[in-house]
Symmetry: C2
Subunit: 371 residues, 2 copies
């Protein structure tokens, strides 16, 4: 059962039923425009990560601004975007289940679909699925550029690229080089050092692939925390930031470098106060099921002396500082999620607002697409 | 778009597509039976909290074992259970939005529906909604028995009960006395002290209500961490545990008192390994969107030398101890969620397994019912 649609176009924003996930369209579009302009000015490809928004309307807005396509993280997520008309999807993950590979291969008859490999067995399974579907999958070697998650070390890149290039149904497309561990390093110097190290690994991997007689057409990676570094590196030619469209509290804690673009918080959950048991404490209707808390508590937006102090399943306790404007039941609070990606995944609808009114309600079509 | 159904009845359990939420039906039914027997033996009412499972099939299994009905936490959650045929729902929360109150009042024409109050204004709004619908809502005064969340202090209970009793469309039903802060106190002594304090507050509130000339028919509360204490208190006559049906890693960290029932872990998320970049590290397909991490990491079940070490959005990094059985892509891992309630809320389906086979697939009908 999908969630109740919390508002309709034309409603005043104060009529949105809470909790609801809301995008400030002015801030959101400014973020999209700024990233598109910066990546275009550098002559690089932008392929925003759709795991942050899971929303075809947003993917189409990014593509309309020049993005070559999107990234996804899961099979069913990718297919939700293909079903919504997105024609170029890179699944930035390994897939080993033959049933999922068969679904991806079927999708590849309608859209360009790529995925990652760090293992020859998975490549052979994917090749068989693509051949059976009469389709071609773009195949990238994932390089572990420092995050210590998936991926091969640079010295194995040539060998695996040669396997991908030789398998029917696969087209060796390039290297996936994403440093997840660098995105939330707080200082510019920390991020610079991490991406400098990643760059060395990319160069080493590229040498190995070229030594195997193959061209590296695409080096893809980067996130909202580090993309200016990959952009300036001379090595990456496709960038994958996702959170920049929304920003969140955790990315807001990164200290920007002087030259960095400043993205605006455009994503909020609106909550309503339902209990004010004491002047210093109010309780709102958004808790552990309205936000992901993996990267900290939500931040109260645009209101002084109010902090989101504690969550339980369906309650958020707001601490009201002495002298702050008192809260009453029914009052509404705008909250910036700690981590946008898993928070968006809790909602079926994103309400777009502008000038105090609801302008659109977008389905989060890939919400829950875990498989 | 709902999640893909991960399995069908009759499938071998190793064919379930991952990530999937799975219930071991033997363990689950043993948990349900044990709680039902203990509460019945004490002559009390059991009203399990359905915020843990959001699943009408489970509610009906609890009611079939003698539960008087269920608890819910949100309006749309309550109405999902009413739509599925549950005829007695207590919404253990304050509701102040007139639209939600109107929906609850409409539901109260089909089912007994109760809710909580800690404020006279909300009571008047609810009264108007009930009167407009030609229905009656059960009205409970919520007492803050120590958790410092919602609720009035005991000295205000009589005054508020009198207001509820006098309002048309409301029926004063009793006191809601739940100590959320006590559930995860790790030692039996800690929990005993907290519930002893709560008991004093309940007695004080009851005196105030009786002084106002009203009878306290129901004193309802308790959770999986403390229910044996409320059961033995002589004060509570209705118990609301929810997590006992599943258990989770966080409740597993409570040190039980000697007399406490031991509930079994019955809820798991099954994940698949999709990458083994190094002997000491494997990466599975269940991360921040497959579990709620508010109460810690999931625990690997039934496999030595393997730990879920780190999560990102769609990856879980498993640490493989030296000497442990190595993992390969495609291997499956059973994981006990850190916190069951918000984890269940990430899934549209619960797969019931017994003897190595899928026996049923239950819709999580109130998944995402935030409003």
């Amino acid at each position: 059962m999908p969630q109740r649609i919390p508002a309709a176009a034309g409603d005043p924003q104060d009529a949105i039923e809470t909790p609801a996930l809301v995008v400030d369209l002015d801030a959101f579009e400014a973020n999209l425009d700024a990233m598109a302009a910066a990546v275009a000015a550098a002559g690089l490809r932008l392929r925003p990560h759709a795991k942050s928004h899971k929303c075809p309307a947003i993917a189409h807005a990014q593509i309309a601004r020049g993005a070559v396509g999107i990234c996804c993280q899961k099979t069913d997520e990718a297919l939700a975007f293909v079903a919504a008309g997105v024609r170029d999807v890179l699944l930035t993950n390994e897939v080993v289940d033959p049933r999922k590979l068969a679904r991806l291969a079927a999708g590849a008859r309608e859209a360009r679909i790529g995925l990652l490999f760090d293992d020859a067995t998975a490549a052979r399974t994917a090749s068989a699925a693509a051949a059976a579907a009469g389709a071609t999958l773009d195949a990238y070697v994932e390089i572990d550029v420092g995050a210590g998650r998936c991926g091969v070390l640079p010295q194995r890149a040539g060998e695996l690229a040669a396997i991908l290039a030789a398998l029917p149904g696969l087209r060796f497309a390039g290297l996936h080089c994403y440093h997840g561990g660098a995105q939330h390093l707080r200082t510019p110097a920390g991020r610079e050092a991490a991406i400098a190290g990643a760059r060395e690994r990319v160069l080493a991997a590229r040498r190995e692939v070229e030594r195997a007689g193959l061209e590296v057409a695409i080096v893809t990676g980067a996130g909202t925390g580090t993309w200016p570094l990959e952009l300036a590196s001379g090595v990456w030619n496709e960038l994958q930031p996702g959170s920049y469209a929304f920003m969140d509290a955790d990315y807001g804690r990164n200290e920007p470098a002087e030259r960095d673009l400043r993205f605006r918080h455009s994503l909020f959950a609106i909550a309503s106060v339902m209990s004010v048991p004491a002047p210093e404490r109010a309780v709102c209707d958004a808790g552990l099921k309205a936000f992901s808390f993996d990267s900290g508590l939500p931040l109260v937006h645009g209101r002084e002396g109010l902090n989101y102090a504690k969550a339980s399943d369906e309650h958020g306790v707001l601490a009201v500082a002495p002298g702050a404007k008192p809260l009453a039941p029914g009052d509404r609070v705008w909250l910036v999620p700690g981590h946008c990606d898993p928070t968006v995944n809790l909602y079926d609808w994103i309400v777009g607002v502008r000038g105090g009114r609801v302008e659109c309600v977008w389905p989060v079509s890939a919400r829950g697409a875990l498989g």
